[in-house]
Amino acid sequence: MKAGYWGVLWREFSKNRLALAGLVIVISLILLALCAPLIANNKPYIYITEGKVYLPLFYDIITNGKEYAELKGTDLSKEKFTGFKLFPPVAYSYSEYDLDSIVVPPSRKHLMGTDEQGRDLLARMIYGSRVSIFIGFIAVIIYVAIGIIIGSIAGYYGGWIDMVISRIIEVIMCFPTFFLILTILALWGPSLASVMLVIGITSWPGIARIVRGEFLKLREMDFVVASQAVGAADRWIIFRHILPNALAPVLVSATFGIASTILIESSLSFLGFGVQPPTPSWGDILSQSRDFMDFAWWLTFIPGFAIFITITAYNLVGDALQDAMNPKSLSGK
């Protein structure tokens, strides 16, 4: 069998059933978040009436919120129009009020029930996954990029450069991240961008440390000396030879990082520092449900459970990736 470095890694990873399940959940959530407007929407995919074909949902997405002039002001989900209508699986939008069905438990009409304003919880959960996952990915991409650059420099050059960077890392690692985030959000005002930016800027030292450690280890490896001996330049060796070898541990850490970022975002939203309504996030939904906990179990249970499952899935994937990187499986023996 032909298998490169990543191929072997995948082979080891896929031996772990639980991790595969985690990966399926992770990928489904990403797809769900990407396709949210196509899955939960109160506009039909297609609407045919009086010999005319409308695609209200796609029209809305493509034109960024416009409606067909002829249909202006009509709520297609309510109006008893004659004709053919095909709705998405969840035929509600996340901000659509239905004052007739406030705080109804899960039913056939609302699979996850509704909240105190009569909004469909499933639609809100689907849109909420966007916030969580978007924040998770962007924040982690920001800090992984910063961490890789700084860690590579420290690890490759060593000496005083490494000394200075390591001290900075130690200092930043002493900051209580969560409270730093709270402080900065209190100053800047809460918004999606500031949450991501603050997490991104404060969390890089962990990655930098990993990359630095890998570099210190790899720098002494003969293949690095070997590529120096054929005349390769420093920059080339760092990015082409050392970094790909250091990437797997970074991937592990990034996976855990996404999980913890999702948790941080949920906590912030829960405390009221997160994204602002009407954009729903899971933490937000959970936070608003506090007042109804006694009689509306689904409003707390569902977002809480979703957060739990997501975090667990990411952690399972991260764990298995770590195991797969066991040097024994890659040495080729």
Binding site: G4, V225, S227, A229, V230, G231, A232, N245, S331, G332
Partner: protein, 321 residues
């Protein structure tokens, strides 16, 4: 014979705490065009450090603190980063002791050969690929077209060392430094690799600096031999002369340590004691503690390299005895 590499009074030290380790002290030797110089000594005597110094690749925290390394008249130690990079691989190439870790596990071996080709030669990707396959063939990799896309973990140690040699040869260097190229390999494979290496050296008229701890390996191969002990050259000269009559008691000890096939009497003799780490300039002979023929006078003054006979140097005041 014309000299291609001339190392003069090389000194390398490793700062460690307050006391520096003087790993290489006052080492001088000459490598001639198309010839083979055997560099022999026990583990830890400074062979690798000397080799790395030639490419200005002494591992951290090592410092080259004295000497000149003249490659075709130019001092390598005075070259800046760009200049030395053009020498590495293109003029002087090196292969290492551990083929298992000398290749990057992330890339296919074909990629790694092509990369070193494209560093120094103007070739398109396709030309580099064809040339790589040719090189793989010349170092004895079976089915090179197919193996081009294999990854290091699919190769045995011997095969990886062949790949390393192919990489080293890729820019047709005039000097190949082979640092214990067969030490990590099985005995049968050792012989094959050496044989292949010598064939290529002859074909290409390359100069070879062959480093080994096994005097037996260089016996039939080297034109000249430098015996190293504790960071110094203990004996230096043409190999036939040295084999006929070793001048230094350490060299004689190394000869006794060569296992002879079919000689039931010779059990592996070893020189008692270990290579010391030298942290201050020695006041006398550094081999004194292990020397079978030592006398008081040996530690009263530093022992210089003495002219023993024509083109022969030995660091022993009792060479006449």
């Amino acid at each position: 014979m014309t000299a291609i590499l001339d190392v003069q009074n090389l000194g390398v030290r490793f700062p460690s705490g307050g006391r520096d380790i003087l790993a290489v002290r006052d080492v001088s030797f000459t490598l001639y065009k198309g010839s083979t110089l055997g560099f022999v000594g026990e583990s830890g005597c400074g062979k690798s450090v000397t080799a790395y110094a030639i490419l200005k690749l002494v591992p951290q925290p090592g410092i080259i603190d004295s000497g000149r390394i003249l490659y075709q008249g130019r001092d390598i130690l005075r070259m800046d980063d760009d200049e030395i990079r053009k020498v590495r691989g293109k003029e002087i190439a090196m292969i290492f002791q551990e083929p298992m870790i000398s290749l990057n596990p992330v890339f296919s071996i074909g990629y790694q050969i092509s990369e070193s080709i494209m560093l120094h030669l103007r070739m398109s990707k396709r030309e580099a690929r064809e040339y790589s396959i040719e090189l793989l063939k010349s170092v004895g990799i079976p089915d090179p077209g197919k193996r081009y896309n294999s990854y290091p973990h699919e190769f045995s140690g011997g095969m990886r060392q062949r790949v390393m040699i192919a990489i080293a040869l890729s820019a047709s260097p005039s000097i190949l430094i082979a640092d214990e190229p067969t030490t990590a390999l099985d005995v049968t494979i050792q012989a094959q690799i050496l044989e292949m290496l010598l064939k290529i050296q002859e074909e290409r008229q390359m100069s070879l600096l062959l480093i080994t701890h096994d005097l037996g390996i260089v016996a039939n191969i080297a034109d000249e031999i430098a015996i190293m002990y504790a960071g110094e050259i203990a004996e230096y000269g043409r190999s036939i002369d040295i084999f006929k009559k070793p001048g230094h008691p350490y060299t004689r000890g190394l000869f006794k340590a060569i296992p002879r096939i079919g000689d039931p009497r010779s059990e592996l003799a070893t020189i008692p004691g270990m290579v010391p780490s030298i942290t201050s300039p020695p006041t006398g002979c550094v081999f004194y503690p292990r020397c079978p023929i030592r006398i008081k006078k040996c530690i009263q003054a530093p022992v210089p390299l003495l002219h023993f006979a024509n083109k022969r140097l030995v660091r022993c005041i009792r060479y006449k005895d």
